[in-house]
């Protein structure tokens, strides 16, 4: 994840979830959970640790597969060229 996190560290991310990619000029919006995952990835955490932090930070109803959600989000970041 180190090369990914270096790419992610280039992003400008506001507290409200506005994301600016200076490399491409693209802008994005992330929701609160997306912001938390992005922060975790930038800090170099792995998927399990990020999923655990989501569970601790949000009111999670039973049945949600947090790890699957994080994996899905990372795929989305890859599609947008924000991680390798």
């Amino acid at each position: 994840m180190s090369s990914d996190s270096s790419r992610l560290r280039q992003l400008a991310v506001s507290e409200s979830g506005f994301v600016f990619d200076p490399l491409t000029g693209h802008t994005f919006t992330v929701n609160a959970a997306g912001l938390a995952v992005l922060s975790g990835l930038k800090a170099g955490l792995d998927v399990d640790a990020i999923a655990a932090s989501l569970g601790a930070s949000f009111e999670v109803e039973g049945g949600e597969d947090l790890r699957r959600d994080v994996d899905d989000f990372v795929l989305r970041l890859r599609e947008h060229g924000l991680v390798k």
């Binding site: 994301v19 009111e59 949600e64 989000f73």
Partner: protein
């Protein structure tokens, strides 16, 4: 207290996403239908579920009649059976004074079987059999002839029955500001219509009293009806001058648009679709121009879609979320194009039943069929949906419950909700037994 969890979402901002009308409209959830909660209706009748509003049906027909009464003393509104021939829907229409407009022997049988007098049935369509024509002539149905072979067949049937029925001719008018439909009727511009009239008068077996024209479907330019009415009225007057024929009925067909949005439309139907008043004004002006002071004949309209489309919704349940190869979110619903064929023509409204929460992202709504074409709605910004949640698909009253097909899944219940909130199934959901009762296994294959 911790914030409620929603799946992490990232949405890229796209240039051109907003325009002078602003960004995506705020989405209001549709929690009930005619005062009855969607949850209650689904609990009683299942999902997916077609829901028709009796109030909206009646309101729309009354509005059309009101608009027509402002310009015409003698007019007929005929219910286009092919648009929706469920018995309960037809009954509402007939209670509101509508005649029946049928286009096949099956529809004719349905109308007669429902107790509609032949004198209040119009028979269009390009494929009437001798048996159909015999039933029609015996019961006084107004038959509109489509082509020369049918004209000759009608003469043979009338001669055999010893009757001289009154008939109409279907006429195709060119040079209209709509996509040209030339498969119905005798073309006016190339002399085919005149040829048919001469043939009919020469034989004298049938009596020509009506002209009919249907210019197309989902006609968004009301001026097209002005052209149509003017041309048809002029043709009628010319027949009177040249042949002494008295045309006492001009049937201007249907084709008024509903508030749906065609795939190729930029503006949504709610903003672009003309009002019934705008259509009627154009039609009446064209008629005045064509008649030039002559006494007006009876005016007939067979508009179906604009009467029923906006009076119905389809409730569907989310089965799953998935991520597509291009990053868009796919939502799999329990309702597909087999029960919603109009999804191929329209960008149907898809609305949540519960208050949307979370970040909207580009979403494609698929049906449950194992077919690539099963797309209910493409490219819609939509808030997160979980399996089991419901959505409502709007403007589904026209053609779906007649053109739908039993394919891969079974067709669901159709329910009518009354003005007092009563709800009843008007077409029962199919079961495997429904299918099997139509099938036979030959003896040599039986075990």
């Amino acid at each position: 207290m911790s914030p409620r969890y929603e799946r992490p979402v990232i949405v890229r901002h796209a240039l051109g996403g907003a325009d002078k009308f602003g960004a995506a409209n705020a989405v209001r959830p549709v929690r009930d239908f005619e005062g009855v909660s969607i949850a209650e209706l689904v609990a009683a009748h299942g999902s997916p579920l077609f829901l028709f509003s009796e109030r909206l049906l009646r309101q729309r027909v009354r509005e059309l009649r009101s608009q027509l009464s402002r310009r015409f003393d003698d007019f007929v509104v005929a219910w286009s059976y092919k648009t929706n021939y469920l018995g309960a829907i037809c009954e509402v229409m007939h209670q509101e004074g509508s005649w029946a407009e049928v286009v096949s022997g099956m529809e004719l049988d349905k109308a007669l079987g429902a107790g509609v007098p032949g004198a209040r049935i119009l028979f269009n369509g390009p494929a009437k059999s001798a048996a159909d024509l015999e039933v029609a002539f015996r019961t006084g149905v107004h038959v509109h002839l489509d082509h020369l072979d049918e004209l000759e067949l009608a003469e043979r049937v009338a001669e055999r029955l010893g009757l001289r029925p009154q008939v109409g001719l279907r006429v195709h008018i060119g040079d209209l500001p709509v996509q040209q439909w030339d498969r119905f009727g005798f073309t006016l511009d190339n002399g085919s219509a005149d040829q048919a009239v001469r043939r009919l008068l020469r034989r004298g077996v049938l009596e020509l009293t009506a002209l009919h024209c249907h210019i197309g479907t989902f006609v968004l330019d009301p001026a097209a009806y002005r052209h149509e009415a003017r041309a048809l009225a002029r043709f009628g007057r010319r027949l009177e001058r040249e042949h002494g024929v008295r045309i006492d009925s001009l049937d201007l067909g249907g084709g008024f648009a509903s508030h749906n949005t065609l795939h190729q439309q930029y503006l949504p139907g709610e903003e672009l679709t003309p009002s019934l008043g705008q259509y009627v004004e154009q039609l009446a002006d064209g008629l005045d121009e064509g008649l030039e002071g002559a006494p007006p004949p009876r005016i007939v309209l067979e508009t179906g879609r604009a009467m029923v489309d906006d009076a119905a919704i389809l409730v569907a349940t989310v089965l799953a979320n998935k991520r597509l190869a291009d990053g868009r979110r796919g939502v799999v619903l329990d309702a597909g194009v087999n029960i919603l064929p109009t999804a191929w023509w329209y960008r149907h409204d898809v609305l949540p039943v519960e208050e949307p929460r979370g970040l909207a992202e580009p979403t494609v709504f698929f049906g449950p069929l194992c077919m690539n074409i099963d797309v209910v709605r493409e490219a819609l910004m939509f808030a997160p949906l979980e399996a089991g949640e419901r959505v409502v698909i709007g403007h589904v009253g026209a053609y779906n419950v007649t053109q739908w097909m039993q394919f891969i899944t079974l067709r669901p219940n159709v329910v009518l909700v009354s003005e007092r909130g009563e709800h009843a199934v008007i077409r029962r959901a199919e079961t495997v037994a429904t299918l099997l009762q139509q099938e036979e296994v030959p003896p040599w294959l039986r075990r």
